[in-house]
């Protein structure tokens, strides 16, 4: 029963969102030929007990991909930002 403060739509129930994985891993450039870099991006995760940056998409709202900072111990959500802005 989490709620996200979507920067576009305001506070919404998490039913409206789709989880998109760990936002702290860096995706290699599209033409990066290094298998190790892709292996790390696809498979290696820290799974922290504490603050976790993760992608969520507001699928039944504005469809923006967001970066949500959530405490995995308490589910307290500290920040929600547009993924586009955080990548720039």
């Amino acid at each position: 029963m989490l709620r996200f403060e979507c920067p576009c739509c305001g506070p919404r129930d998490h039913d409206e969102f789709r989880y998109g994985g760990d936002a702290s891993v860096r995706r290699p450039a599209h033409d990066d030929p290094d298998p190790e870099a892709w292996y790390a991006y696809v498979y290696v995760r820290k799974n922290p007990a504490g603050l976790h940056r993760e992608f969520w998409q507001h699928v039944t709202g504005c469809r923006q991909w967001l970066v949500v900072e959530r405490d995995t111990r308490t589910h307290v959500i500290s920040t929600v930002t547009f993924a586009r802005a955080s990548q720039a």
């Binding site: 033409d31 892709w38 992608f55 589910h75």
Partner: protein, 984 residues
Amino acid sequence: MNAQNKRMPKGGRVDRSHSIEFSFDGEGLAGYRGDTLASALLANGVTLVGRSFKYHRPRGILSAGPEEPNALVTLGTGGRREPNLPATTLELGAGMAAESQNRWPSLAFDVQSANGLFAPFLSAGFYYKTFMGPTRRSWKVYEHFIRRAAGLGRAGTEPDPDRYEVRHAFADVAIIGAGPAGLSAARAAAAAGARVVLIEQDFLLGGQLLAERSDGAAASWLSRVEAELNSFETVTLMKRTSAFGIYDGNVIGLVEQRNQDCPPYSGQARQTVTMLRARSLVFATGAIERPMVFPNNDLPGVMLASAARIYLNRFAVLPGRKIIVATTNDGAWRTAFDLAVAGAEVTVVDLRTTIPPALVVEATRLGVTVRTATRILNLRGGHSVKRATLKGPDGQFEAACDLVCMSGGWSPTVHLASHLGVKPRYREDIGGFVPGVFPANQFGAGAMMGIYATADTNEDGHRAGIEAASFCGKSAPVPAPSKLDLGETVPALLRDFPCAQGGKAFVDFQMDVTTKDIELAHREGYESIEHLKRYTTLGMGTDQGKTSNFPGLSAMAALRGATIPETGTTTFRPPFTPVAIGALAGRATGHHFKPFRRTPMHDWHLANGAEMLEVGLWMRPWFYRQSGADVSEAYVAEMRNVRRAAGLMDISTLGKIDVQGPDAATFLDRIYANGFAKLQVGRARYGVMLRDDGIVFDDGTTTRLAESRFFMTTSTAKAADVLSRLEFLLDTAWPELRVAVSSVSDEWAAMSIAGPESRAILAAAFPSLDVSNEALPHMGSYEGEWRGRALRILRLSYSGERAYEIYVGATAGEQLWSSLLEAGRPLDLKPYGVEALGALRVEKGHVAGPEIDGRTTLDDLGLGRMVGKRSGFVGDVLRRRPALLAHDRQRLVGLECMEDGKRLRGGSVLFRPDEKATGHGRGRVTSVTFSPERDRYVGLALLAGDLATEGSEVVAVYPMKAETVRARIVSPIFLDPQGERLHG
């Protein structure tokens, strides 16, 4: 049986002017409005109420609330049948028909209890040893008997005709529990200006105050505060409502029972689930009294001391005449006094040596016999307790009795508070667990915090109400707490240690766990409280061990010589009380279970003989009844018609995505494994996408409508995933690409016309359109208008025939569909369904969902050559991992049935003809169809090793139907390998 012969002539909170008829195991009885089923049974002298889970021992009524482990009954018949309901929580209703459980042939004479037949099998660890150990095979032998022997009630098998509701609600302050603490908190929070919801599982407010005399100080305080709360428009009282779970964001799961005054057919929901979101939350859940542990403590007639007081004062039922009150603390003395005042002969048996003098003085005044430093050693009786063996400072002695009240102290009800992870903390001074540190928006008050005296409880509730309101920014001045002092004394209690010589001493009544089971668990090394729970099933019943948790861990602590905190407590999880699945589902049943998606041609399909099929959320025509008697006849006829003349198929369910922007071609070049940058305007291309890990994700076609605008289609199943993935890559990976993607799936109706006559039909339907091979070649496109709506024609083929996909504005879908059929009638154009569609693509060797199953690579599917020397696309690097390039991977092959009159089946396992057909085999059949072209069953398969070469022979085994058929490996393209049909 004397009608209500245990009912006192006056008093209580029952309405004697309103008699209620009910039945128990078929016997007609009567109670009053205001009774629970349990109080009405006791009023009628019914003490034997059920049989226990494993040993089928006779059981009565232990408690007066939701903690009840013994008195579980089944209500209702047919689809309304509901098992395992605690009689102590059921508001008595007219015509209520209750049945006892787990007995055969009757409650009074139970065969399994008489024989004790299975008792030796059912000690702690039985299930573990039987399932996991070397005796695993014996489970097969005993399962039938054990399933009959051990268990609770049986659920109904018919559909439930009742209606349930699910709703959402909001509050500033939600308060769980309307005892003295909760009522005080509600009063304070409301006065401070908060919108308050007060939740009470009972049909009366008051909690423990209902154990007090119905004409005393507690009763007048209660009616005064209730009136005060009713005067607030901002206060919602939810009676008959249990909080079953606390979820993230202070969301409380509530289930409300229908008022028993409303009969089943009144239209009211039987149960309503409310998901209540509160800004702050006050737990005022009270405490649960602990049973004492001694041999035969499960006999009917053994009751919690507080429960006996509730039956007497609230329901005016005196459940015994000759009563022993066994205790470790002051609280149970109040029960003894009230029972004595009501006329019973009462002996208090207190484990403690020193008793507060005031209690002894009062006992003497009321003629209550007092035995200090004394405990119960054993009880005897058949269907009801008759004699007790007691042990005091002067040795053992016997006493006759017809009711035993016991109190091993109190356990704060911390279950709900710990659902979100607040760890219980042991308080030595009260001998119980209280919640640890609450988050800022949660508060605890009263007995659940270990505060027991009513005067203190009220003040504590008042404080919690003010704090909870203040958390929501509501801090209007609040009047002083409404005082109520019942003069209880609450000194430290003596911890009861189980005594277990000479009979079964129960720790968990519902799961039939005895002290011997705990000793066995300890001896075998299952010492951690979580292991103890799973090994003995302690606390795993429908009551969640509300009365057994503390005695269980206390016993283990004693065996280990450890303290209670060292032994720990188990984790409590929702639901606190059982919730019917029907209530959680609400109206989301049957056709309302999920939304249905209908294509623009849906009504036409229904009106024209289509048998519909659910495909994900979509409803699609499966086959048309005029094509054949059943699906196997119809799809082959529809296939033949496509190959011979032409067929029309509704493909509106395909995912459709508009891709626009200066970098659109670059974007598509990255997301597809095959190149799109060089695709000419007006041309379409088949494309395959990979996942980042190199596995095939989805396939479809994309058409270049203009230099910087593309129209993409995806499979029906992956439409949402593909769109989301494209958005993900644009938002997170490549924000520099100037591309926008948008779903246009619902904007277009889509249909495919396939077959040798398709071009002629297209020409007839669109007279001004140049349909020649030069103007509209294979993979060509056309954009225009039809009757004022956008029209798009793509010459694409899925069936292997010359074919066109025709897209039109969704609202004109049915019109265009009908006029195409009209134009095609002279040429035998007929609609076909998804069964034929799938069969046509198998015959042509096209892969689809069964082959693109999240495990296969481009090479596995024979699509590797599409990529050529490209790189830089999604999944390119990891698709070259050694494991994905290994030569022994299963690869796509075609399969042809070699036995006349036999069929291939999807899902069959493939073996060499000379090997034993066991295990996972060398591959599997993914898709099959009858091929009119080959006049036999053909299929696609994924197969490994040398066997996957054309001409090899395999055996396809289908264990579900014990079928075996010989098949030959062939090219997966069964039809027109040169593609002459679709290019022509």
